[in-house]
Amino acid sequence: MRTPPGRLVRVAALLSIAALGASACGSRTGDTATGPGASCVDTSGDTVKIGFLNSLSGTMAISEKTVNDSLNLAAEQINAKGGVNGKKLQIVTEDGASEPTVFAEKANKLISSDCVAAVFGGWTSSSRKAMLPVFEGANALLFYPVQYEGLESSPNIFYTGATTNQQIVPALDYLKEKGVKSLFLVGSDYVFPRTANKIINAYAEANGIEVKGEEYAPLGHTDFATIVNKVKGAGAGAVFNTLNGDSNVAFFKEYKNAGLTADAMPVVSVSIAEEEVGGVGVDNLVGQLTAWNYYQTVDSPVNKAFVEAFKAKYGTDRVTSDPMEASYTSLFLWAAMVDKAKSFAPDDVKKAAGGTAHDAPEGKVTVNGENHHIAKTALIGKVGADGLIHTEWSSPQPIEPDPFLKGYPWAAGLSS
């Protein structure tokens, strides 16, 4: 999810580079297997290389650095327990620099010159879409840790964040259950909010909920007086917020100043996690709702251990959030798949993937072998005065991933 569209032309150019790289790699190791599917992963020693590809510079660094931190924690813990399939993990870190084309280049470098067994990272949808052809071309593995707009399923990508039916749809179910009869949609003007709102509109129509307005603000928009005026005038039961980044601060300040409250008209946000609460200001957010699959406050021994280990490594003032947990979990899931397959080869790992389960901080997650997403429990949370998010409602069991919303009759017209 998050931030602007990719550059298809450059991606196409990178495709050819990727193909070149893959074949060069095959020949250098003298592997007997041929073609672009050949892997040059070196499994002869007692270590195996994996790649972490996050933006450590540029606008996305704020968010992606936290994901990189939790990936490093996971690797440290796995190594302390003896590694994966008897081999210690050796980490190669690359900076995606908040640029989709750089993500594609670095992914190619990790696969073909570092010969890593799997790559973990990516955040924006545009970075994922730029990397997708690289991973498919080289038949390598990417673990992508962020909730996104769905409508994708690559055999070479494992999606450990939520797809729409594990975040947006449960949030709507929750609002419906609470008796909300009308919605106002506010979002940033790019692919994720527009796709999300299409789904919300279809859901609303099928469930007798009235959508009283739909407003988009350009990314980086800082003046929400007019949009909040429209929200106020429309008098909807709740606001569904898919704004991104700085806009959230301006929106919530305006919302509060206009006299709108969480009691009278709650705002459900899908991109405000623990990391963002501080920047928006706890005062402006108290009582508002969020939809995720993990909160720092999740009450389980696994999560307690995760939060404690994270704070011990990075400082007690740090918080843990959904994308951080999803990336932390992704490394354990990959390790479980490799252990099950007894092999690091992508094809073997993919075969072993289906049904692989792990006790994650968010609860039990299971990999879906068909669409490579994972079954997760949906959690609706409420921002507390302590700046943390507390679970208000949770789905009775983990929700099977359905990236194309095939199991929802009302969504029939969406994926076409």
């Binding site: 606008t59 660094a61 704020i62 650095k65 003007d189 407003e215 988009y216 603000a217 350009p218 980086g220 928009h221 800082t222 003046d223 007086a225 007019t226 949009i227 005026n229 429209k230 106020k232 005038g233 700085d246 959230n248 601060v249 301006a250 300040k253 305006e254 509060k256 100043n257 206009a258 006299g259 990391e275 963002e276 501080g278 920047g279 928006v280 200001g281 706890v282 005062d283």
Partner: protein
């Protein structure tokens, strides 16, 4: 009816924000002809001043009152430093100034990132500025009313300085004819430095005010710099009253377009209006009559 007045106020408020952001530029760009891309970062410095002051003074209300003059000082000092070290060397090279100050802007953003961290920081609003005020015809957010008043005070203060004080006379003299002013015994260097100090200081005040409305982060300034230049250009170089009219005009226009269409379309429409306007009147709303060649 309530919506109409609400929208009218939203426009005025947006105009006052634009005015605060552009007022300093009207001096440094409008009067001195310096294209200072780091102007937005002086606003950012003002916003962080408000953040730091809140760390020292717990009461958000007192902190805000203290932050405004302090923000002026910090912004002004940064501007003075920039003028002394770099800008005065390139008064006749506008393109170079643009590139150099842009570089300075990037450096200042990174400094902010290193000092305060990349995520946004939270500047709390005083209790007397959260919530709304009933003006009879519409309920308006108190913080926006405060910024509206602040911008009017800032413009009034600046106008007073420019028209009634010896410093103001010197500034106007240097703008209208630098050589003649120098011949008359005015230190143009000293005047330049003071003008730049005041202009940058106003950016600092704008930054403090903006913490009431939006996010406080390293890139705060970049959100406003283009709009600020737009206001100064549309208003006419060298005329404060042009800047005032352009700021409120564009604010009301943006709010009206945004209400009837969408935020994205409104942005495009406002740009289009300014482009067409500048085709018809390239000198902006007001132009200064001058005998200097600059």
């Amino acid at each position: 009816m309530e919506a109409l007045f609400g929208q009218l106020f939203a426009g005025l408020s947006l105009g006052s924000v634009l005015l605060l952001a552009a007022l300093g530029l009207a001096l440094t760009f409008g009067q001195m002809g310096v294209i200072n891309m780091a102007h937005g970062e002086f606003m950012m410095a003002g916003a962080y001043t408000a953040f730091v002051v809140q760390g020292v003074i717990a009461d958000a209300g007192i902190a805000l009152v203290v932050s405004i003059p302090l923000g002026f000082g910090i912004g002004g000092l940064l501007g003075l430093l920039l003028e002394l070290t770099l800008i005065h060397r390139m008064y006749n090279r506008p393109l170079d100034t643009l590139l150099v100050t842009w570089g300075v802007a990037l450096i200042l953003q990174q400094v902010a990132r290193d000092v305060f961290g990349a995520p946004n920081v939270d500047v709390r609003s005083p209790s007397w500025l959260s919530g709304s005020v009933d003006l009879g015809v519409a309920e308006v957010p108190a913080s926006r009313l405060f910024i509206l008043v602040l911008s009017v005070v800032a413009v009034g203060g600046l106008a007073l300085v420019l028209t009634k004080t010896p410093l103001g006379r010197r500034i106007r003299g240097v703008v209208q004819n630098r050589d003649l002013a120098e011949t008359a015994g005015i230190s143009t260097r000293g005047t330049d430095r003071l003008t730049f100090f005041i202009g940058s200081g106003l950016a600092g005040i704008a930054g403090v005010a903006l913490t009431l409305l939006g996010s406080t982060g390293p890139t705060l300034g970049t959100n406003y710099i283009v709009d600020a230049f737009l206001v100064v250009v549309a208003g006419g170089i060298g005329q404060i009253k042009g800047t005032v009219i352009a700021a409120f005009g564009l604010g009301i226009l943006q709010a009206a377009f945004e209400y009837s269409t969408t935020a994205s379309i409104a942005k495009v429409a406002v740009f289009a209006v300014v482009v067409v306007f500048l085709q018809i009147r390239p000198q902006g709303i007001f132009s200064i009559r001058t005998r200097s060649l600059a």
